[in-house]
Symmetry: C2
Subunit: 192 residues, 2 copies
């Protein structure tokens, strides 16, 4: 296996462990073990857990950007926003177990007052910018960013309570409620 | 100092450390150190971190119940709900640093698949029941629990994004928006 491929495997394993068990709860040794590498081989790629964290955040940024690019295919801005909201349904089993990967990492890093908090918030910022552009396309230029943050806020609230109560009915109800809210934000067309 | 007083000091120190640094990030030794106890004296009170966690959750349940009881003094159910929402403003500095104590602990315990997750969710359940009773008093018998969960959900979403972006303007705007939403839920009085 090439060095690049090994590095990729480490970062993907760390991404999964940080999400499923938490950043603090995941040790350097846990990650090495999950990819079946010797300590020596592992250290060749990463010297500290913080270095791995940086690579995990970069991976999440790239994956998020790719997902947003793919969503641009959707027919309309409103449909794209609904696609974002539907992540809560698509990933509901994982969310009920581990919360939202972005929100829970940010919370952990905030508590640690970790320098990477800013970088982790860039994943939120990608969603925020993208959602804002959809609201602009829907004719809400003046408050697009506020609306984008409102959608992110609700998604985070749903994910946290979903993990606390492990209640799928709650997720589905709030997802519908959020879609109704989005529909109500679209200015009615005066002409046509 | 009496044994009961020492125990109380340990639990309060753990409550603060679990909130500020996280449950996983806080070691048994950190707690002993913060109350200035020898290991022997400390072990007399608690044998494991999970035992301390149980006591911290009990303390949070008692504190939450006392707060809810105090809020019953407020003039009207709508005012009581606004009082709940205003926690986000009152505690904004702490929330921007460490998130919400209830939500972040639940997220940590969910990831650990910890048996205490259920107990930690009881703090949410206290708020949920209390908020539900306020919505019933406002004439929303049929969907009081859904409305209560919606308020909790928004509070959690605001707390998570507040910790990620550390943006007070965002908190204040969403708090106003949530209060407007609550006002819109109150059925207009047809008669008197």
């Amino acid at each position: 296996m090439s060095a690049i491929e090994t590095r990729r495997q480490i970062v993907e394993a760390a991404d999964k462990l940080f999400y499923e068990n938490g950043f603090v709860a995941t040790s350097f040794a846990d990650i090495a073990k999950s990819v079946g590498l010797s300590r020596g081989n592992f250290y060749y790629h990463f010297k500290t857990k913080d270095e791995i964290l940086g690579a995990v955040i970069d991976l999440r940024l790239a994956n998020t950007q790719a997902m947003l690019d793919a969503w641009q295919e959707a027919a309309s801005p409103a449909e794209r926003i609904r696609g974002f909201i539907d992540i809560l349904i698509v990933n509901r089993v994982q969310i009920m177990k581990h919360g939202c990967p972005v929100g829970t990492l940010a919370n952990e890093l905030a508590k640690l007052d970790h320098v990477a908090l800013r970088d982790s918030a860039r994943v939120f910022a990608l969603f925020r910018g993208w959602l804002g552009r959809q609201f602009i396309a829907l004719g809400r230029e003046s408050d697009a960013d506020e609306l984008a943050l409102h959608v992110l806020m609700r998604s985070q609230g749903i994910a946290t309570l979903a993990a606390a109560f492990r209640d799928e009915t709650f997720i589905r109800r709030e997802v519908e409620d959020m879609k109704d809210w989005v529909a109500a934000q679209i200015p009615s067309r005066k002409s046509r």
